[in-house]
Structure formats: structure tokens, C-alpha cells
Symmetry: C2
Subunit: 347 residues, 2 copies
DNA sequence: CTGAAAGCGCTTACAG
DNA sequence: CTGAAAGCGCTTACAG
């Protein structure tokens, strides 16, 4: 409703409104302006002065300068999130969760590396030069973490195996992997292939390990040579599958478990091209349960991971740390579940 | 290779290394440290002093403090990108392009609103409080733009109809829309429905207008009541289509043109549920050509928009503005093209 | 309750 | 080529 006001107050060539200008306008000191602007008036600013300052702030269109404020306070109000691959829709959901929990008091700065890459030491230093209020690191690399040690509030996401040292929100990928193995075993599969991701993040290792363990326990096996790995890319996954399939077929493979839905899309695509019947000749599964998995043909059986919740919980934990609170539960684990669809329907 | 070094220099409890500390270590003034750290030594710092400072910087692990630097320079090295919906894979690609052009000299701060929402005036002010080096605004709203007026380097993305006032990189959506209309006309369609997006961004208006115009010219029509609109969401699009289809069918509709691929996924999904044969009974098309459109079943005919390039070009233009250069071509337009797939195959 | 003043870390005329 | 000093805009003890 005040959009026309705003347009006027931010007319071209207008100089930035500073606390000093507000102070002069209100007839008080900049200290008082700061107190009022930050809502720290209780017992420190008279009601009369508060009203005057509030009025001046509105009239002049004053906004606290983040830079000056940050320098003075020693930290910025920026939360930096380090994520390995923003093009993965899974991360988009994680980020949405982070944003919703962070609200408008903190700015979210996304530090994204290229697919499959880890942030360099130089990148890290530069990030810390921004004096973030807190750090969120998704699917971290251990060496990267050491470089960040003791720099302030830090919460990891999807970082299994980092012990109790650092607060983290993890996904119980293992449960979903076990359900997946049980589902495939029940459908009569005995030889399965595994198409892995290769960002080198622990989550892929965990998915693979948990599945292989459960599969073995259920009498299934991944024969020698029935493993492949690509970055998270439909096309590359399709290529890898195309190359491997003749041999896999010979080895009696009847199911391909993919580390991500994106990999699985590649397999589905190539299978269609190659005339491989899904799920009749080959069952295909993924992890992540991306939105499109319900819409592929056939629908993709996938381990659902609660991406949005992951982001939300991590940001909530971080907010507590920033506020100096202790975390009752520094290590959170969120459930995963298996979504069964047409790509593994019983024959 | 220096990761172990880094770990040591960032050991717990270590105080931040300041330019003053470097100056003392090197036996020079902070002015000299600043010059060296910023690579502005030519003709201003002796080779001997430069070497000494460089050595001290390395030994102490000094990094310029962004906050102090920004306050002093009056601007930060942050580029803020305002985008309406990060969960749309299209934007993920745009962002990737921006990042690749920006390099490591500028931090990319994503300001994302919730799906279908525009940034509020308060959001805008807060953004400007960060003193960005430049602003990238994707699919802007005119009123939002006015609030930003004259605040520094600014480049719009996908902002048709803003005239010559502001530098922008646009997509020639109209060309793709015309190709699409021609394709449908050639396949014999005469009555088509239009499923629109409702973020209120001009790009959707343009897609719709361009298509309708070309369709009309080719003898096709969109009957009364054969238009619907939802936010960019598979489920909502599916619902809207489910509700509208009985009537559309009665009206003789044989094709649904969707404003985004995401909308089209919803139509495909609902069509499968409802047993509508695609493309036999109904042809379906989208805009964006998302990665999954090649993999849906049937494959989705879609107008390809060069998302990554859009981001890259916009960031390149912004960089020029930041460096005080003039833009030879303040208005860039990138080509679109039609990708024909199974969802519109000839009957 | 209030304001003068110091200080956050840097950059940049300015004088030498 | 070099350094002392002012200044960016804010916050926070501190003295009153």
C-alpha cells in the first residue's frame, strides 16, 4: 500500500539516509536512533523519544545499513549455505526449507560449486571474509570442514559420519535403502546393478553401503562389473547405462538401483531408446523422490527424502546457535520412506 | 595443496588477522597493505615493500575483510539476484549461468520469493541495505522496479516490455511461440486450450499473447472458457486440467498449450489418470524445455529457452556496468526454438 | 533515560 | 614511493 511512498522516497540521485540524519531530524543522538531502530528501547529510551525517532525513521525512509552495522557488531546478518549442486531439484527444496526457517532477519547467501566439485580453500576464506552469522554446509567434505573449524555457528546437512563434534541434521537414508532392498527381494530379483553418483559426498556412500548390506542379507547380489558411477546428470547416466547394459544383461541383472532419481531418469530414457521393457525386463529405482518421479513413465520407485524439512530443521538449529542457545539435540535424523511406483511393479 | 596450512592458520580461537597486523609484521603502514592486498601496487608501492607485504599476508593468512572494505568503498562485492521461484529448474540453470559469468570476484546473493510472489517494498529496502555492487532481477514486476530506481548497476532478465530505460537480456519467446502455433496448425488442430502461469510476470503474458496471435493468424482459436491458470506446480496444474477437461472436451479442444513445462507435466499426469490418450486425443505442449521434458512419456513438445545463456549474458552486462563501462547493446535478445516430441506427434 | 566518544577494518585523498 | 589521518555507518560501553 505504501508503494507510491517508497517510489518517492527512493527517487533518483537521492542520498542514502543515515542514522545521523534521522538523529538530527528527531533531535536526538545517533545512539538513541540505533536503539530505536533495533527495537532495544525497553528501559533505555523514553516513550517520547521513541515516538519521535520512529516518526523520523518513517518520514525519511531510513533503513539500517547492513555494512556499518555488521562492522560494528563484528558479524553480518548473512547466513551462508554451501551446497554442492544447485541444479539438483533436491537442493532447491532444501533451500526453500532453509529460507522459510530463516525468515527475513537473515539473508541467505548461496555458495554453490559446480556439479561434483568441492569448495576450494580460497573460496572458504572468502566466505569467512563476509563474516557470516552462521554457516550451513550441505553434504560436506571432511577436509573442507576442518578449514572451517571454530569459526562460529555451523550446522551440517546430510553429513553422516561426522560424529558428535558438529551439529547436524541427517537423513535416515539407511532405512529407505533397507525398504528398497526388501521391496526388490520380494519381487524376486537376485542380481542387481548399482548406478552411483560421484560427487564424493558421504551421502552417496551411505546410500550404496546401506543398500548393498541389506541386499546381501536378503540373498541379492551386485555382481562384479555391475557398478557404474556418473555425476548427477540425466544424459551422462543414460550413456553409462547404455554402455554397461549389454554386459549387465549377460550377467543376469534384472534391476538397477540408482543413487539419485536423476540417474534413474537417464536409465529410463535409455531403456526406452533401447527397447528394454520396464519393469518387465528391468526394474529401476532412485533416491530423492523428485517431483517428476511421480510423472515419469513408468513412475519411478524411489526412496523419499524429506528435502524441505531437512533445510528447515537445519536452519532452525542454526538460529538457536546464533542466538547463543544450546542445542538439546545437536544431531537430528529425519526419516526416509520408499515410494513404490511402476518402475518396479511386480511382473 | 595448502589445505594443511589452512587448517593450522584457522585453528580454534584464533583472532581474525587484520591489515594492521600485517602492516606491523611487514613493517609498513596499513595503506601499503591495502594497496598490495588489492593489487594496486603499480607505481605506488616499491617492489621491496610489495614482496615484504605479500610474504606477511601469506604467513599470517590475511584475507581482506569484506565488511570493512565495503563500508570504506561504499559498496559491497555482492551481486543480488532477485528471482521469483527458485524451485523452477529453469531458474537453476539461469543461476548457473550467472555464477559462471560472475566468477569469484562477486558473491551471488539470491533473493528468492515464494512461488508466485513478488518481493515486498520492505524486502527491497533490506536488499539495498546490503549495498550490492549490482542487481539482477529476473522476471520483474514494473512496480518493484520503480522502487529500485537509480540505485546502481541493474540488469533485468526475461523482462520484455520495459523499454530502453533499463538494460535487459530477453528471450525471443515470440519466435518459439510462433513455431509452436505453426506446428500445431500443421498437425490439424483448430481448437486449443491455454493453461497459463499466474506469477503475474510479463514473460507469461508474452508467451500467451504471442501464441494466441500466431494461432489466430493460422486459423486456430482458443474458445471462451478454454483458458485456465495456476502457479508453477505440477499438482495444481493437474487439478486445474482435471476440472476443465470435461468442458474443454465438449468444446472440441484437441491441444493444450501450457505456459511452462511444469504445467504440462501436470496435464500429462492427469491425462494418464483420466485415460486421455496423448497425443491421439489431446496434444500437450510447454515452454522452457526442462531436462525432464525429454524423458516424460510421451516426450513433451516444448519451446526451448536458453536459460544458462540468459544468466551468463545478464551477468556479463552487469559486470560491465559495475566497471563503469557503457553497454554497446543494452538490450539483448536470445533465440528460442521449438523442440518437437511425442506429446504432439502427428496422429 | 541520554549523548559524546571510541571503535569495528578498510580505503583513499593528502602531504610529504 | 610512503604513512598519518579522515571517513565509511553503525553499536556499545561509559559517564552523566
Amino acid at each position: 500500500m505504501d508503494s507510491t511512498d517508497l517510489q518517492r522516497t527512493t527517487a533518483p540521485m537521492r542520498r542514502r539516509v543515515t542514522a545521523a540524519m534521522v538523529a538530527e531530524h528527531a533531535g536526538v543522538s545517533t545512539a538513541t536512533v540505533s536503539l530505536v531502530a533495533n527495537g532495544k528501547t525497553h528501559g533505555r529510551v523514553s516513550a517520547a523519544n521513541e515516538a519521535k525517532v520512529l516518526d523520523s525513521i518513517r518520514k525519511l525512509g531510513y533503513v539500517i545499513d547492513e555494512i556499518g552495522s555488521s562492522l560494528s557488531r563484528g558479524v553480518s546478518s548473512t547466513v551462508i549455505m554451501v551446497a554442492p549442486d544447485i541444479s539438483n531439484p533436491f537442493f532447491a527444496k532444501v533451500i526453500a526449507g532453509v529460507r522459510s526457517a530463516l525468515g527475513s532477519n537473515y539473508q541467505l547467501l548461496l555458495s554453490v560449486t559446480d556439479a561434483g566439485q568441492l569448495p576450494s580453500a580460497a573460496d572458504t576464506r572468502r566466505l569467512l571474509g563476509l563474516r557470516p552469522a552462521g554457516l550451513l554446509v550441505d553434504a560436506p567434505d571432511p577436509s573442507f570442514l576442518e578449514a572451517l573449524s571454530a569459526t562460529g555457528p555451523l550446522v551440517l546437512l546430510d553429513a553422516p559420519g561426522f560424529g558428535e563434534d558438529v551439529p547436524a541434521v541427517n537423513l535416515d537414508v539407511a532405512q529407505g535403502a533397507r525398504d528398497l532392498a526388501a521391496h526388490l527381494a520380494a519381487a524376486g530379483h537376485t542380481k542387481v546393478a548399482y548406478l552411483d553418483g560421484i560427487t564424493g559426498t558421504t551421502t552417496f556412500e551411505l546410500r550404496r553401503t546401506a543398500f548393498l548390506k541389506a541386499a546381501t542379507a536378503l540373498g541379492m547380489s551386485v555382481p562384479d562389473g555391475a557398478e557404474a558411477a556418473t555425476t548427477i546428470d540425466v544424459g551422462l547416466a543414460a550413456d553409462a547405462f547404455a554402455e554397461a547394459w549389454p554386459e549387465w544383461k549377460k550377467a543376469g541383472i534384472t534391476a538397477v538401483v540408482c543413487a539419485t532419481d536423476t540417474h534413474a531418469y537417464g536409465v529410463l530414457q535409455e531403456a526406452r531408446v533401447a527397447g528394454i521393457s520396464i519393469p518387465g525386463e528391468l526394474a529401476v529405482t532412485g533416491f530423492d523422490d523428485l517431483p517428476y518421479s511421480a510423472n515419469s513413465n513408468p513412475g519411478l520407485t524411489s526412496v523419499n527424502l524429506p528435502a524441505e524439512l531437512l533445510g528447515r530443521r537445519a536452519a532452525e538449529q542454526l538460529l538457536k546457535l546464533i542466538n547463543g542457545e544450546d542445542l538439546e539435540t545437536p544431531l537430528l535424523t529425519l526419516d526416509s520412506s520408499l515410494m513404490v511406483r511402476g518402475s518396479t511393479a511386480q511382473a
